[in-house]
Symmetry: C2
Subunit: 506 residues, 2 copies
């Protein structure tokens, strides 16, 4: 099924820098196959191939590149159920979720294929010459976006398919014309192997230069860091912890030639509960919230971890309903033992916090499982301790009880940048919500009404981004077609004779 090899261009090479094993997320037991960690020499080989591939790959025709992305999608589907089974074992995520995630991954590749074919991302511009213009003749100027260079993509723990080897970052970088070197996440090496092989096959089948794609395992942090420092790497895509993202940003900024790091790091995705909505349907919102909070064991970047609610009987209905729903929700296997342990620790910290009370918790489980929980605090107490804004990665939410909308606004003003902000409103809340909108726009990349941020549409109008520290660069998105912009830069061509012009600006 797989060999545990690094994929370096067209080759498969067993790494000799330590061993990585896929672990069954539920039991902690080793799964078949040992994966060899990459050495510096392996990284050098992959980077050299990527650099060789770059001038060829970035000038492939739009049609050839689009077809290549579609071939990757087909090759992933061709792996069949083995992919789902291995991903289930390595991630502890259920079949339905992973089948959906595979659909999303394949759909994403096809969406970028369509985006490449449409060609708008090139932003072709033509300013005609005017030799007669006074005082100086006007030159012929043509602009196009070109690919930025080879991109390092770090697989995410929480999306073993949709944000890993052939996930959003890889799809958008390849669409832009950038070769990709993936650092596979060590929590799902087997899933990565299966997808990596699918991409490698697609490279060969599509006649792309072999260095278009490589995939490395890293038994520590060394190879990932060296990848970001490599002068041939020109951008980085990362989804993970704030500490991890900041470390990569730091390496990238200290290079001789600094490069952009697109890190999606942490967000607690505030949910604003307005008084009329709470009064009218506090119960229904509470029940729906419990479902969103515990989806995928709460391991989504868009998980609703913070609720700002105007106090009153409606809030009590909300808390009662959310609490009742939560109490019946079984503990769920988390992605890794480390994540499960960190979740238990951070959840316990909240539970022991003197300013915080437990509303309800889910059913208990074993050490690899996360138990859902909902806590409540007051606005004053929330404002007094900045640590209450820290993300608890998992199915834990904190309700901030606000006396009125004015106090809710004070809490809003103290928040850091977020991926999403959700508003629950009734018609009678709309005027207040409208007034808050300008504040919300500065806080988040996506604003949504009467829903929750989980479930991120892959489409042209999606923004999965947001001001720092939600991401390292709030001017971009990592989901949706605009993600391609992150891997492009504009070049202007002045008075080039026809024979010198690259095809798109001829």
């Amino acid at each position: 099924m797989f060999t545990g090899d690094l994929l370096i261009g067209a080759k498969a090479v067993h790494g000799t820098n330590g061993e990585i094993y896929g672990l069954d997320a539920a039991t902690g037991e080793r799964l078949p196959t040992s994966f060899g960690g990459a050495t510096k020499a392996d990284l050098e080989a992959a980077a050299a191939l990527a650099w060789q591939a770059f001038p060829l790959y970035r000038e492939t025709t739009l049609e050839a590149r689009a077809a290549f992305l579609e071939t990757i999608a087909e090759e992933i589907l061709a792996v069949g159920d083995a992919l789902i089974q291995r991903a289930m074992a390595e991630s502890g995520l259920p079949r339905g979720r992973l089948e959906g995630e595979r659909g999303r991954t394949v759909g994403q590749l096809r969406l970028f294929a369509a985006e490449v074919r449409a060609g708008r991302f090139q932003d072709l511009r033509f300013d005609a010459a005017d030799p007669e213009r006074k005082p100086a003749p006007k030159p012929d100027l043509r602009l196009r976006n070109i690919a930025i260079g080879p991109v390092a993509v770090f697989g995410a723990s929480n999306f073993p398919l949709a944000f890993s080897v052939a996930g959003g970052d890889t799809a958008s970088a390849l669409a832009a014309g950038c070769p990709v070197i993936v650092k596979a996440h060590s929590a799902h090496p087997g899933t990565s192997a299966l997808v990596g092989r699918a991409v490698q096959k697609a490279v060969a089948a599509s006649g792309m230069p072999e260095g278009t794609f490589s995939m490395l395992y890293d038994s520590g942090l060394e190879i990932g860091q060296a990848l970001v420092a490599d002068p041939r790497i020109r951008a980085v895509g990362f989804t993970g912890s704030r500490a991890g993202g900041l470390a990569l940003m730091d390496i990238a900024a200290r290079r001789k030639q600094p490069i952009p790091v697109y890190a999606e790091m942490s967000s607690i995705n505030p949910v604003l509960l307005f008084p009329h909505a709470l009064a009218a349907r506090g119960q229904a919102i509470g029940k729906a919230f419990a479902g969103s909070l515990t989806l995928g064991a709460g391991q989504f970047c868009t998980n609703p971890g913070l609720l700002l609610a105007v106090d009153g009987p409606g809030l009590q209905s909300f808390l009662d309903a959310a609490g009742e729903a939560l109490s019946a929700i079984p503990a769920q296997t988390m992605l890794t033992a480390g994540i499960s342990k960190a979740y238990a620790t951070n959840r316990a910290k909240l539970a022991e916090h003197e300013a915080v009370s437990l509303v309800a918790e889910g059913l208990g489980g074993n050490a690899s499982q996360g138990r859902a929980a909902l806590f409540v605090t007051s606005a004053a107490q929330f404002l007094a301790d900045h640590a209450l804004q820290d993300e608890v990665f998992g199915a834990t939410g904190l309700v901030v009880r606000c006396a009125d909308l004015r106090e809710l606004e004070q809490v809003l003003d103290a928040l850091e940048g977020q991926l999403t902000i959700a508003l629950h409103i009734d018609e009678a809340d709309e005027a207040d919500a409208r007034r808050l909108l300008p504040t919300l726009e500065l806080l988040a990349g996506r604003i949504l009404v009467n829903g929750f941020g989980t479930g991120v549409e892959v489409s042209p109008a999606m923004v999965h981004g947001g001001p720092y520290p939600a991401t390292s660069d709030g001017r971009t998105t990592s989901v949706g077609t605009r993600a391609i912009e992150r891997f492009l830069r504009p070049v202007s061509y002045q008075d080039l004779p026809e024979s010198l012009r690259p095809a798109p600006i001829k």
Copy 2:
């Protein structure tokens, strides 16, 4: 004519943190009026006003904002010849150049007005809802770009009009919907005062919120640095030295919320002289080069400071012609005494460098004037000393004699990022030039043929940017309509009821 005051919103306040005087660039004598440096309290007042103005200003209609930009242009023209006279005195630049620069400044404002009216920069996107979609209904998603927030603009020494108070950075930030706080360049406080008053008048006449524009003088570095550190500032535009740009980037990166710094820092704008072009018209190219090198005393970001030439009789014709032309060129008054002194020092360093020989120099002048010079070295010697890549700000060029195109390519591979690269080619050189193009695209933001980079068209297809260290962010341009993108970020709106939707996405 002017009072020497800071412009803080609608007010004029005399700063009490030191005094700044405009100096006659030619004589070093103090010009009338003392300008008071801003205190921290002045900065606080300007930042508070900008933050207040922001939610209002960014939601002005496209028509109102466009008309405002046009009013600024009219108010600048209404200052009349006093502006040209003061700018001539403060910068030492001749009337023709400054009249041209005023035209460019006004044209730039009008171009951005047209760009605002066209509205494309908003990138409005609509993904229709589909409540019937399985497995999950599709939400209504709408995207628009919003203004990033108040922007700090640092006036440039070398463009007292086109890249200062109401220059490119200010025009593009205002066009995007961002209030602007200008840190006036201390080399042209009077010019800044006249333009600043024109903008202030336009703000009032157009009914914009007063915090839309403020202008501060800084008697040291403290206020400029505090401006970049201020949490209400969300982006920085800067044109100047590499040391200055790096210092601002460092402050911006260490903020609690890091912000983008768009710094245009240094470039030596390589000119590649191909063998057939040299053989056919080495003399003509040499003469034209001397003109470009000495334009504006060589004080352009796009000044051709480095020539990579294939050796042969053609190169000798080039050197002879360029030398002959240079020898007749009078020394020119430089922008400031500091710039003139730095130029003399850096020029002397080159002259004394053992690997470098003088080809020719211009006529001598006084201490405030720069004397043009052309030097030559070999490829091997150039490659052996990285300091030979340092920008000499002024009319000095260095020719690197390459044995053949292969050696020229080796030199290219050692170069840092540039704003422009110019190629001089004949038809017989085109195949070789075509082969080099992919390398050139990665090195520079603009590639031009049979011309020089001086003379930067303000138009949709212009890129005045380039890989680090030419700029801090090679994904953007500071000239041309795409400059507006630097001050925008996307926001996605999901399932908002009509009453909540901002006007553009209704």
